[in-house]
Symmetry: C2
Amino acid sequence: MATTEVPDIVIGRLPIYLRALSLLHQEGYEFTSSQELGQRLGIGSAQIRKDLSFFGEFGKQGTGYEIKYLQDQISKILHVDRDWPVVLVGLGDLGQAIANYAGFASKRFHIEAIFDSDLVKVGQSVKGTIVQDIKNLSDVISNQKIQIAIIATPAVVAQEVADKLVECGIRAILNYAPITLTVPEDVHVQYIDPVMHLQRMTYYLI
Amino acid sequence: MATTEVPDIVIGRLPIYLRALSLLHQEGYEFTSSQELGQRLGIGSAQIRKDLSFFGEFGKQGTGYEIKYLQDQISKILHVDRDWPVVLVGLGDLGQAIANYAGFASKRFHIEAIFDSDLVKVGQSVKGTIVQDIKNLSDVISNQKIQIAIIATPAVVAQEVADKLVECGIRAILNYAPITLTVPEDVHVQYIDPVMHLQRMTYYLI
DNA sequence: TAGATTGTTAATCGATTAACAATC
DNA sequence: TAGATTGTTAATCGATTAACAATC
């Protein structure tokens, strides 16, 4: 229970737990156990208990975990018990889809500004958010104290965009461009590349 | 070099190598080394060499790897040296975006059929592919011998859809619905959930 | 109380890394 | 040849799991 630097792989599982708890809650359950949770997620019950033990004691012997309480606790741990403003860079087909995706706002991630280098797109409005020239990037990020960016540009300009974002003070990047980004080690990057997931599965086919 | 069952985590890195090689190739390079590759990817050079050694010997001492050759070899290993037909289930906003995304076809994954339960959408055409009633699922999959499916339905019906896909013989599922699926162990599932990636990063913010 | 399930320890398992002989 | 880099071994490191006392 000491603050011994929680492994990132453990942090990576917390959102999975949160998602499962959310579902259990929706289904009307009030309590669950590490065993039930593990069953649903295909994870060992011991691992779930161990993961949670990095942060405190959230259960009761004999009865397990109160779903709503555990949800709240994990939300606090992950800092998702608040709204997060986000900037989106790139408004091609992919950027359009991201801007229109309701799933972000429903989890309290709000796209506050959209940037594109194409002046034809600048001035257009997507879901009430006006597309801005990428020249305004720095001002918007510092004025609104935004820490999170989503990159949805072509791969060729993604590194350049990332550099600019880092320079503007962005601390976390969700990158949809199919390229590994180089950033300072205090900046976090996560990748979304559906093709890579498909390529990983075809290894096992035929 | 024996066939000792390659760890899945190694398979998961091959597409990353492939992506980097592709980029190096585009940039006009002809040779690379495990060190250069590792530098770009933030991975140790020893790990890259170890990963590749599961499959054979692809480099030369002193000079490293011929990019084009290594690309071809990894492509063969992953079975992405061929076209793969794919079915898409669910044509909401997300499904629309997936159907319109050029990145799949460019890597030889072709959406051959789209299914939706909404009869209003059935008959519509997206990029030349006509939306079909989900009742035709079984026929299409068996006639075209399709092994890969993409789920882009609401979370509440995703498990039900997955069950049906498995029943029809699907062997690999790319799931965009925010829910952990339960499938037989010979069926592969990969998840795309951008919100989870964001939640993982906010842990480290403020 | 009896049954269930937690939190935690210690053992196991697996993955990463450092080092180096082989060799281009 | 001299320099560079591979493929592989062995050592290290870290993550998962089994087991169980504690306790609701």
